[in-house]
Amino acid sequence: MRGSWPAVVFLALAALVPVVVRDAFLLDGLILLLLWGTTAAAWNIAGGYAGQVSLGHSAFFGLGAYAAALLGTRWDLSPWLGLLVGAALATAFGCIIGFLSNRLRGPYFVLATIACSQVLLIVASRWRALTAGSEGVPVPFRPGFWTLGIADKRVWVYLVLVLAVLLYLIELYLERSRRGYQLAAVREDEDAALSLGVPALRLKVAAITASAALTAVCGVLWAQYVGFVDPFYVFSVDLSVRFCLAAILGGIGTPLGPFLGATLIVTLETYLRARFGGIGAGRVGIYLIIYGIALIVMMRFAPQGLVPWIGERLRWRPGPGTAP
């Protein structure tokens, strides 16, 4: 496990925090940090490892959030079932987008993913009979583990942490396994990979589908934790941008990158929210101005992201990072 000690330290620290810290505000920040980091890691499977950059991943996040919320409010079913349904829907939808990726490359694929997420946004906000329309769906709080009605934030930390560890392990697998190398070959030069007998289409579709299903799982947890699903938020392009922003800033195609990126983003956002909450709420947007500029600067000087950049300077090998 050479090179993965920073991630072990990061995840162990996250696991220790709830033992020491009781402050609800800090715990809330940690949960969101882990959740956004995990979602960015899920994006990273498609965007980083498979090289299929999507700006429509909010589609999967929203499918998960809506599946759990609607099953809970309309049919009084458990969000764990919603998790299965959401992941199944996202898998189906991810398959479609995965096959699109075979025909479309670069900017064309990006545009197609944006269009798909926008279609779902309109369906969710206009199909009132199913989704309650643009008002959104409040998720009722039903105490118990089966209904995910957990008031104790420390339990939430561990719940999200399990998912975060799972994502990290998946990305380690992609980094070190035969499948992972094949996927990297497809990303770097699809024609060359094909000529060597790598099943390019199958690998790409599998990566995008896995990425979609895991994003949907994040959506389910997010909806249950926050307690409200707003179609204009969960299906927005802004949210998709948020996923990829964390992954790119941290280091696209690295297992630790998305978590580092999410840490930076959530920390500044939470600080500004606490500082300018209420009346000056508009000023919270400053963090996105900073990260928008950071993205531009990073693309110019270190397009591979922070983790590989730091790694080079410390001569520590975090695994093969990928310049986008």
Binding site: G51, L55, L104, R105, I114, Q118, I248, A294, L295
Partner: protein, 293 residues
């Protein structure tokens, strides 16, 4: 069927504005091979420019248009120098993320400066309706269409007959050969970017008296422009023009048949259908989408 002339005229008016947004986008792609994901944000900024000039200086949007032209062009040029120049020869993903970064920064700059509330430019002729027989048309929309058509025509003439236009087209065809022929491609890219931004900026000022402005308003219009640009074939200016009319027709007829609530679904589905069936667009070169250029 007295509604048909009204639908046709509405389509043409709407299509004219969409064309101006789409032409700028497709020009930048054609010459620079960059899809500008911040295109809508420039539209939004120029709408706010018109709003500011109106609210603070009591300037009519059409006066602002004339005064702001050099400002918008200069802003475009500056954004090229600061943001785009270093990545103009970089990979697709670097370019995509750079323009996405620009989009995030500009959108949130507007959010911090003007809040998320919708702002209106309420001119005295806000609700003036012109009647031709059975047709009723908004005055601001007619003016916007007329100016947009003039501007687009001027751009086409510039690209067709001027020396600089020819240089830009040569660079679009093959930037390496163009450079070998002594063309300063770096300056061509700067000019192309600035001209493309000016197109969308002019469209923004023209739209200000018709639509409310808020920080994410760009997305709504730029999505339509993406549809038009892909339908016409990325980089094909005449294609973008015709496709803008097609998209406007889908929107106008769609709103008339099934109501305004679902009209966006129609053109988004049209968009996905084109991407699946013929991604090179109606007039584009087959296979362009598969190599991503």
């Amino acid at each position: 069927m007295h509604t048909i002339p009204q639908l046709v005229v509405s389509t043409i008016l709407l299509g004219g504005i969409y064309a101006l947004i789409a032409v700028g986008l497709t020009l930048i792609f054609g010459v620079m091979r960059v899809v500008n994901f911040a295109h809508g944000e420039f539209l939004m900024l120029s709408m706010y420019l018109a709003f500011w000039a109106f609210a603070l200086l009591r300037l009519d949007p059409y006066v602002t248009l004339v005064l702001a032209l050099p400002l918008i062009f200069g802003g475009g040029w500056l954004s090229y120098r600061l943001v785009m120049r270093p990545v103009v020869h970089a990979s697709h993903n670097v370019q995509i993320f750079t323009t996405v970064g620009l989009s995030i920064a500009l959108q949130n700059l507007a959010l911090v400066l003007w809040t998320a509330d919708s702002q209106f430019v309420r001119t005295s002729y806000y609700a003036v309706v012109v009647r031709f027989g059975s047709m009723a048309l908004n005055l601001a929309q007619i003016v916007a269409f007329a100016v947009a058509v003039l501007f687009t025509a001027a751009l086409f003439a510039f690209m067709r007959w001027s020396y600089t236009g020819k240089v830009m087209r040569a660079t679009a065809q093959d930037r390496h050969v163009a450079a070998l022929m002594g063309i300063d491609t770096s300056r061509v890219f700067a000019l192309t970017w600035a001209v493309g931004i000016t197109c969308v900026g002019v469209a923004g000022v023209l739209l200000a008296p018709i639509y409310p402005v808020y920080p994410t308003v760009g997305l709504q219009f730029v999505l339509i422009a993406y549809v038009a640009v892909v339908l016409g074939g990325l980089g094909d200016m005449a294609g973008a023009l015709i496709a803008s009319l097609v998209v406007a027709a889908v929107e106008v007829v769609g709103s008339y048949m099934i109501g305004t609530a679902w009209k966006e679904v129609l053109y988004l589905l049209l968009f996905i259908a084109i991407l699946v069936v013929r991604p090179a667009g109606l007039f584009g070169q087959r296979g362009a989408e598969a190599i991503g250029t």
